[in-house]
């Protein structure tokens, strides 16, 4: 078989270091095995993501690594891929339909640990807020986990949940207004580091003492935590490992393995000022 292996990967967005580093890891891995890689960027538009997948199928990909921008909406693309006997591995977020394998973080854990950490640092009391994001399963799970952790502290009051769309500039304005309307706000949990960086700017601008935790472990976040300040913790995910594992499992499918796991949850890790210096993706 002299035909080069073709791997297609479609991302929900490529304007986030999280996914960019995933792409880098993919390129390295593909180079190592001599495969060709095609990458597309849905820009958070499911319809575009379906079209992107269709186009990749036209190009005859063998493996589809799918980072869905919406789990339900992408189903028809999964179905189409399977009709063409393409191996489909969902990465970071799962997709509906006959996906072969899903590789993603333990997102509920991530939310739980971040908010538990925050509650501890707040001494188990005070007003906190959640900075929500784009409603996909992993994000929803983080919020759920966070609420569970907060719920264990009767003196912590969740005063508001607002959406910063995981975008730094949107989050900035939203958090500024939060701070105006809740002058006693003591802590904020952001569902990812994109939103957290905006929240950090707002907190610093207000000069208030508000503690910020988040999920991802993005370089900027880690740097801010190292410096010390409002940003005290991010629960790190491992995007490079997600795609490495995902590709490995896809290859396993390709080579005919029959007992490949349907879901591979990847551990998350608390990163705070104690270990931030040594952490990177």
């Amino acid at each position: 078989q002299d035909k080069k292996l073709k791997i297609g990967m479609t991302f929900q967005e490529l304007n986030n270091p999280y996914f960019v580093s995933m792409q880098e890891a993919l390129n390295e891995a593909a180079k190592a095995i001599g495969a060709e890689v095609i990458v597309t960027d849905a820009g958070h538009d499911v319809a575009k993501q379906i079209s992107d997948v269709e186009d990749m199928l036209q190009q005859g990909i063998d493996i589809l690594l799918l980072n869905p921008t919406d789990s339900a909406g992408i189903e028809s693309a999964v179905t189409m891929a399977k009709e063409k006997n393409v191996i489909v591995v969902a990465v970071d977020a799962n997709a509906s339909g006959p996906v072969d394998t899903f590789v993603g973080s333990k997102n509920r854990d991530a939310g739980y640990q971040s908010c538990k950490y925050m509650a501890e640092k707040l001494g188990g009391k005070g007003e906190v807020a959640i900075l929500d994001g784009i409603p996909v399963v992993p994000i929803l799970e983080r919020v759920e986990g966070c609420k569970a952790a907060l719920g264990e502290n009767p003196d912590i009051k969740l005063v508001t949940t607002q959406n910063g769309r995981q975008d730094r500039s949107v989050a900035l304005g939203v958090v500024e207004n939060m701070i105006q309307s809740y002058p006693n706000l003591a802590g904020i949990f952001s569902v990812n580091d994109g939103g957290a960086m905006g929240a950090l700017a707002a907190i610093e601008g207000s000069g208030k003492d508000i503690k910020l935790t988040s999920v991802d472990g993005a370089p900027e976040a880690v740097e801010a935590i190292t410096k010390g300040g409002a940003f005290i913790e991010t629960t790190a995910q491992f995007p490079r490992d997600q795609v490495r594992v995902g590709l490995a499992l896809a290859l396993a499918h390709k080579w005919g393995a029959r007992v490949v796991p349907a879901a591979v949850p990847i551990d998350v890790r608390v990163v705070d000022s104690a270990n931030a210096k040594d952490f990177s993706w």
Partner: protein
């Protein structure tokens, strides 16, 4: 026929191949068409897969949603208006339709009907405010865009609504023979639009209003009614697009179609319709939409870096408009 061509064939000979060719060339469709052909050939040269039947049908299917939105947009722009709400209206129509079926357990027919009514209703809302309220279309439809997005998110609670009866997917991925259903729907909608625009008094009035609204009104055109109608049509095509999109996504997505209004406008303008109204052809819009679709598809097929795709697309659009600017 332009005066030039009259002069060129003074004796009016029986239609020869040459004269048909000349007529096509003199038509405002010529330039968008040339643009389409040039871009297609480039894409074909750059990618082996491009000219396969399966890929061409693939492109047409991908294009269908924006192309259908662009039909309503053409009507609106021909009157000198604009409709920025089409993407949001589409999303709301799809969300409500899906919600009624899934969350309320209503029969699918009711859901689909409700989706259409949402489109008509918001189109009516836009139309009344623009026509009788005399408010600028750009801001009215911008506000409606916000309202529709908000309503969709409230109704769905922000979550996509999935779990639709599986036959709904027929609208998005079904085929009749080898032709995808969305492509057939698109073709039908364009045909109807053409008949409306070129074979009925209503169509004349649409063009007349864009050409000179005051004069049209003085001539007895019921300009308010016609303007209302174009926004209603735009709402309707948004709802029809929603049907296809829902079939493709198999879910109601309150956040679907962000920015589609700009794609639809781009299709209309690429197709040669004057943004100030009064001039333009509906099939130009189809060509414009397909051109945009081919750009997306072709750049993907060539495996171009997604970041670079935006840049190339921008330049090709500029080029296409530049070439076509003369007869505008």
């Amino acid at each position: 026929m332009s005066p030039e061509s009259t002069v060129a064939s003074p004796s009016n000979p029986p239609r020869s191949v040459g004269s048909v060719f000349r007529k096509i060339f003199a038509s405002p469709l010529a330039l968008p068409l040339i643009g389409l052909i040039v871009v297609s050939v480039l894409m074909g040269l750059a990618s082996d897969n491009f000219f396969s039947v399966s890929n061409l049908l693939n492109v047409l299917r991908q294009v269908s949603v924006v192309a259908i939105l662009a039909v309503g947009m053409t009507f609106v722009i021909l009157t000198g208006g604009i409709d920025l709400s089409v993407g949001a209206v589409m999303a709301l129509a799809g969300t409500i339709a899906a919600g009624l079926m899934v969350k309320m357990g209503m029969p699918a027919g009711v859901g689909l009907l409700a989706g259409l009514l949402v489109g008509l209703g918001l189109g009516f809302f836009n139309g009344v405010l623009v026509a009788w309220g005399r408010m600028p279309a750009i801001i009215v439809t911008l506000a409606t865009m916000g309202i529709a997005r908000g309503l969709g998110l409230i109704y769905s609670g922000g979550y996509p609504i999935s779990g639709l009866p599986s036959w709904i997917s027929w609208f998005g991925v079904g085929r009749v023979g080898i032709i995808p259903v969305p492509v057939i729907a698109m073709a039908l909608i364009y045909l109807i639009a053409w008949v409306l625009l070129h074979r009925t008094p209503f169509g004349r009035h649409v063009y007349a209003i864009g050409g000179n609204e005051v004069a049209a009104k003085l001539s007895g055109v019921k300009t308010e009614r016609v303007k209302l109608a174009v926004y209603v049509i735009s709402g309707l095509t948004a709802a029809l697009a929603a049907l296809i999109l829902t079939g493709r996504l198999m879910s109601g997505q309150p956040n679907a179609g962000v920015g589609f209004e700009l794609d639809a406008i781009a299709a209309v303008v690429l197709g040669g319709t004057a943004i100030a109204g009064g001039r333009g052809l509906i099939f130009g819009t189809l060509i414009g939409a397909v051109l945009l679709g081919i750009l997306n598809n072709g750049l993907n097929l060539m495996g171009i870096n997604p970041y670079l795709q935006d840049v190339i697309k921008g330049f090709i659009i500029l080029l296409a408009i530049y070439i076509g600017r003369e007869w505008r």
